[in-house]
Amino acid sequence: MNTSLFASYNYFFDFFSLALLSLPLYFALPSPVMRRWLLTFTGMYLLYFIAPRLLLFYLIFWGMTYLLQNLVARFSKGRFALPVLLATILVILSPMLLWKIIGNDFVVFFNLITNQGVQILSEWLWEVDLIRKIIIPLGISFAAFRAVDLLIKTYVGRISTLSFDRVFFYGFFPPVQMVGPIIEYEEIQLQGDSRLPFDPQDFFEGCKRIASGFFKIFLLAYWLRESANIFGSYSTNHVWKNWADLFLFTWNFYFNFSGYSDIAIGSARLFGFVLKENFSYPYFKRNIQEFWNHWHMSLTRFAQRNIFVPLGGYRPHTQHRAIMATMMVIALWHDITWSLVLFGLFHGIGLIVHRLYTGGVKRASVPRWHDHASRLATYLYFSISFPLLFLPVNKLPGFYLSLIGLQG
């Protein structure tokens, strides 16, 4: 997985600082349009503080999304509809794909070209941009999938063509610019189109959720932080330490990831937006299908809507192909590496085997020991695949051998 030196918590600290002004102002504004623009400008301003070049990139990205959505709507009926949709999706995904395939060279290109763009617009902002850190295209994986979701929903007629300000509102919605969940437009549509008054209940729930996120990140994940060294030290560790660190690291990763989701969901709730959940106790599920329905749920929902169903996931003769394609998209969303191809295959096979075993039918009741054993087995199955998210393929044999005491 790509590592980033960007600290998401600083993004949220900036957001909360601005919220001291923007939250009362939001509820004081008389029209939904003004409210949408307030949140849009807040999102833009937050990107500006990461780097003006990142803001410029996203202005172009979401401007392009607006144009492409119109293009998809215009060609939605007729024989060119599908090719147009696929072409627009490719355009939207291209920055993310280039970054994941080319890596550092793309980062260099991305920073140079966007910085030059800022210079053309304003020398003052260009000088500010020069003191900001070199960045990877932060948030692009989330933004790209949100944009693709918008295009596909326009194509199938679930969403009518959005106005410019609505696309920007969706694109720059501050809580989810840098972290998950990958929201759908409908999640913010109702509140975004209304002028509901301030609800203390929402505010309270939002605060609780944010506190829960910080608790997970700065206490629980921090407490388990040493386990993150496992992929650097496995060759010298005792086999039991490797197992222990592997399990602890799965929790460290979960607390970090779900903690940020909590903060994002809570931040949106402060403004009255109720976002769908992103994690729901995934390590306590009875089978791998349940696991994937409760781990990074927004990504799973995206893949189910846009990959699994269109490829015939509910038809007997095409379901296995659809499962494999869905898991491959979920895996490669993280990064495009051979390890992640193996991760997709591993979980695709797991889901297919599970489906063959159960016949797709949920069992009504099972003995308690069976229930516990299932949960443990599911967690173990995921934990064993966990190194695939982090290690390059050439280091995998060494790592797995170290788990059975044959390395080091």
Binding site: M1, T3, L5, A7, S8, Y9, N10, F13, D14, F16, S17, L18, L20, F49, N104, V107, V108, N111, N115, E123, W124, W126, E127, V128, L130, I131, R132, K133, I134, F198, P200, Q201, F203, F204, I217, F218, A221, Y222, R225, A228, N229, I230, F231, G232, S233, F249, N252, F253, N256, F390, L391, P392
Partner: protein, 381 residues
């Protein structure tokens, strides 16, 4: 739990929670143990009356409080960067300082002022003009009898380096008054979180002494919590992620001398809008304060002049400064061209760091003594 009613918040209820939270934080600050005092930037002054003022990176207070100094002593504030230090210091590896230039100057002034001078040394490495302005505000706020400002020819008009990205100079702006300039400055350069931290920090010790408490309780939570992978990024990119200047000027891995030469070549005084703006603000604030001020451009090694492009860059900076300071107020004395015999006496470790400051301390001491006329009356009582 079935016997507990779920809490139904009201606006008034939320306000009450906020008030109680503030009260709790305030009391928490009172009863918490005193944290370790944070360190100042690494500068060895060697004298208790030459006081380093800038606190280490990450401390929300940014500069330390005024130390308790005898009231019958005169105070000089010196806003300097690495060129205000002498010898033995490698700015890249941050190894030990041998002596600070202000210390050498104070050693000379002792004779004439009967050891009744104090120096507040606002020192920071690779100081950019945004920091110069903010440190100058801090220096002025201490109401010193005189101010010395060292300008660095490599940074003063450098468009590529108007501020250090993680600087906390928002603290200074919050404390030193709200005006249109500070609003522009803050809204475009200061992270919103820093503005709020520093505002909150004025009332809550828990925030004000953030770094001390951070060390006491948490150590290095921030970075470890986020970097979950042990996989190291590519080395060159790692440098670039940390030091954007190396990336923009393609300087990764280059020798220090080549790096600063490049800095000089890319300095474009005519288009350095932010730096011009900062310099204008510095002059305005100094003019308002009326404090006698000596500003000098740090001498550079004659080696810089061996390359025509570098020499052109240097003279462009010099000319721009002369133009900008042309109508400066009477309380400010500029010395943009240090006399050649002074420069000739200096031994340079590189292009602008000194291994032997030669007659430079004498020159600065004489400027403080003669030109600024530091309050002799105050000292003699």
């Amino acid at each position: 739990m079935p016997f507990m009613k779920p809490y139904q918040p009201t606006l008034w209820g939320i306000l009450r929670i906020a008030v109680w939270a503030c009260l709790f934080l305030y009391l928490f600050g009172i009863f918490l143990p005193e944290p370790q005092p944070t360190r100042t930037d690494p500068v060895d002054t060697g004298r208790p009356d030459v006081v380093p003022m800038k606190l280490e990176e990450g401390d929300l207070k940014w500069v330390r409080k005024k130390p308790e100094l005898p009231s019958n002593h005169a105070t000089i504030a010196w806003v300097g960067d690495s060129s205000a230090k002498v010898s033995g210091f490698d700015p890249i590896t941050r190894t030990r300082v041998i002596q600070a230039l202000p210390t050498q100057v104070m050693n000379l002034l002792d004779r004439n002022y009967n050891n009744k001078l104090n120096m507040l040394f606002y020192y920071t490495l690779a100081r950019r003009e945004a920091e110069t302005y903010a440190l100058l505000l801090e220096a002025i706020s201490q109401k010193p009898d005189a101010i010395v400002v060292t300008l660095n020819p490599f940074w003063v008009y450098n468009q590529y380096a108007i501020a250090q990205a993680d600087s906390l100079f928002g603290t200074t702006l919050n404390n030193r008054g709200l005006n249109l300039d500070h609003l522009i400055f803050s809204s475009l350069l200061v992270y919103p979180r820093d503005t709020v931290y520093s505002l909150v920090g004025n009332s809550f010790r828990l925030f004000r002494d953030n770094l001390g408490y951070h060390r006491l309780f948490v150590h290095d939570a921030s970075t470890s919590a986020i970097r979950t992978s042990s996989e190291k990024p590519d080395k060159l990119m790692d440098v670039y992620f940390k030091y954007p200047l190396d990336f923009w000027l393609d300087m990764g891995g280059k020798w220090h001398g080549d790096r600063v030469r490049k800095l000089m070549r890319v300095s474009n005084p005519e288009r350095a809008y932010w730096n011009q703006y900062f310099l204008r603000l510095e002059l305005e604030r100094l003019s308002e304060s009326g404090i006698p001020t000596f500003i000098y451009l740090a001498p550079v090694s004659p080696e810089l002049m061996t390359d025509q492009a570098d020499a052109d860059g240097y003279f462009a900076v010099l000319n721009a400064l002369q133009n900008q300071f042309a109508n400066s107020p009477p309380n400010i004395k500029f010395e943009l061209r240090i006399p050649p015999e002074i420069t000739a006496s200096i031994k340079f470790g590189d292009l602008y760091h000194y291994s032997d400051s030669g007659m430079l301390p004498d020159f600065i001491a004489s400027q403080i003594q003669n030109t600024l006329g530091v309050n002799i009356e105050k000292i003699s009582h």
